[in-house]
């Protein structure tokens, strides 16, 4: 042992030590990759990435995950999607989300994580998933500004939509020829106003006369929605505003009274009493007959003794 650590053998010892370290590192690397391979599935999935900006504040990335089953696309639930910002080097992880039953993984990008830029390149990726092989989708969107102003001129309500993009210097400039949809929020969906989308003029503006006959809530409030939908350059932009341009909804007090057409909780008293009385009477008699059946059995037992 002694000579092993002698000066002559010192270099040999260092060599062996280096080889050992290398071998251990190699084993560790191989085991890691084999572990990673064991964790990564072989299924094929596809990702559709969409970008939505709401009221120029909330930036939302949505990845829709699909896979082919029997030659048809099926939405996939429970897949973890990692979202990156590729606009800066190295790629910045914005966050992760798991797909829901609609196959959608939704990430609201935290304000602090995304510095203002003229354009963004986002990546949505499946990485080391147990079910699916690694896959990623890239989306480029330009920074834009969608603003909706509401005004009344000569007793006509008007919605003015202004769409602005950014030039190379990052300055906001009017965005012409962009299709914008205008809607009013209804109970089960959005009512388009007008039927087809309008296109912005050279000033990036659209002006739409707003109808006066739409029913609103009890105070006449309506939620007006302007949307740029699936635009190749800007993605999805949305601007919502609440305005009391609707007809106040007067709720018929009879809806809260006890009537045949009212809700379950407002059933007429006479009907509740009538139905329950009939039920108690008839089922009371049935119960009495069942009791009589037991009496027959009881008498039978006594008779057999």
């Amino acid at each position: 042992m002694k000579h092993l650590f002698s000066k002559k053998n010192k270099n040999t010892g260092q060599l062996i030590q280096s080889w050992l370290v290398f071998a251990l590192a190699l084993v560790a690397q191989l085991s890691h990759s084999s572990y990673a391979n064991a964790q990564t599935g072989t299924g094929e999935a596809s990702i559709k990435l969409t970008y939505t900006e709401s009221n120029n504040r909330h930036k939302i990335l949505t990845a829709t995950v699909k896979t082919k089953i029997d030659d048809s696309d099926q939405l996939v639930k429970g897949v973890s999607i990692h979202f990156y910002n590729k606009s800066i080097k190295p790629d910045q992880l914005l966050g992760s989300a798991i797909s829901n039953e609609k196959g959608e993984a939704v990430l609201v990008i935290p304000d602090k994580k995304l510095s203002l830029d003229t354009a963004y390149t986002f990546i949505g990726a499946i990485e080391q998933d147990k079910q699916f092989a690694n896959v990623q989708e890239t989306l480029k969107v330009a920074e834009a500004d969608l603003v909706m102003t509401l005004k009344t001129e000569d007793s006509t309500h008007q919605v003015v939509i202004t769409m602005q993009g950014t030039d190379k210097k990052g300055k906001l400039v009017p965005a012409a020829d962009v299709e914008v949809n205008l809607y009013v929020q209804r109970l089960f969906g959005l009512l388009p106003l007008p039927d087809n989308p309008e296109t912005t003029d050279e000033n990036g503006e659209i002006t739409v006369d707003f109808p006066r006959d739409l029913p609103g809530d009890a105070d006449g409030n309506l939620i007006i929605v302007a949307r740029v939908e699936e635009n190749d350059r800007y993605g999805n932009l949305e601007f919502r505003r609440k305005m009391n341009w609707g007809i106040p909804l007067l709720i018929d007090p009879r809806l809260h009274s006890r009537e045949l057409w009212s809700s379950r909780a407002n059933a007429p008293i006479y009907l509740i009493v009538l139905v329950n009385t009939i039920l108690i009477c008839i089922w009371g008699v049935i119960a009495y007959i069942v009791y009589e059946v037991f009496l027959i059995k009881k008498i039978g037992k006594q008779g057999s003794r």
Binding site: L260, W261, S262, S263, R264, A267, P268, L271, I272, V275, L279, I282, W283, V285, I286, Y288, I289, V290, E292, V293, L295, I296, K297, I299, G300, K301, G303, S304
Partner: protein
Amino acid sequence: MEMNKATFSGPFAAQAEVIRTDLMPKPFGLSGKIWVVVLSIIFLIGFFFYTKQVRHGLGITAMRDYSTWGIYIANFVFFVAISLVGSLISAILKLSGVRWRTPLTRISEMIAISSIIFAALVIIVDMGRPDRFMNVIIHARIQSPITWDVIVITTYLAISTLLFYLPLIPDLALYRDHAKGIPVWQQKMYKFLALGWNSHPAQQAILDRAERILAILIIPVAFGIHTVTSWLFATTLRPGWDSNDFGPYFVSGAFMVGAGAVIAAMYIFRINKHWGKYLTDKHFDFMAKLLVLLSLVYLYFNINEYFIPAYKMKGQEAAHLNELFYGRYAPLFWTVQVFGMIIPIIVLLFRSGRKPFPMFLVSIMVVVGAWFKRFLIVIPTLGHPYIPMDRVPESWRHYSPTFEEWCITAGTLAGALLIITLLARLFPVIPVVETIEEANPNHHETEMS
């Protein structure tokens, strides 16, 4: 037991023994086995397609936004209708003191129980999400006729089961004590269900009282079940359904089809079990006269239902009636009216038409006609909403049941027949003790006195 012993040991013993042996449930013969296998196959095919419907949803049916009710609901109404026969024979004829009803009571109760069970099941079949069935009960609106229907079906099933079971107790005791060569499980079942019956006067008094109470109770419930079913339609504002006398129209039609079903079953049992001396030509003759009476009442309501609106021909009602009288549904409508009602009435008016075999054919016409009549009540109306169909796919405008719907419906009909077959295999189809008592000359003397 004392009564049984006395019956089988007195001078009338030999005849009583013959009746007991004749009416005892027997294992299936070859034809019975084939019948059960065929019904089971049809039922299983229906069940298979139902599992497909559960997996894929009601999209596999032809029901769409306008025709939201299809043959499932027509089938439901048919089952409810046919079940009313239990109250007709077991209650109305019993309380009227009609003596010839004795061999028919249990047949009618078997039909009633099997039909009402499948009426309830068909409602679940019609649900796109059967896993949410309990919501119908948990979130029931007491103002809704659907809630009333759920209540009244459950009640009718309970009363029908009791009305089937209570008169069966003396017969079960008879076979408990006298049946030989039957499997042990069947003996045990008879013993359990006979409730220690020993013909004690106190037991007999309780049984008589209970049967009388049930016979009275089932009449309003029976009228209720089919009236409420008619209200499912009549409480909606639709051409063809917006009628004030839908309740009696449904009830009269139900009694008619029920009587037809009993006649068909009587004939099959008579032939299959050689029961010519129990289900006599006289029984058929009485049932034929009853069926004619019920058919005439139903004809009267049909005249009111179709010809009075046809006299006015207003709005969408006219479109609906034109489609029935001359349009798409005319061949079916007139076939049902003529072969399902008019011809049976004419045939049964003649003495030769009231013989068992012609009556069997007539009863089949009545029952099949009644099923398609429910189809004509439910489906054509849905094709004529008051707000016209506009910009809808072509498939929404017309309803033609899909192959899966036919299979599932056939499965439910086979299932109902299977229940009747099973009940007839396990329990005496004709009340044995009552038949023995009525055949005993001393019994008549006692009754007369």
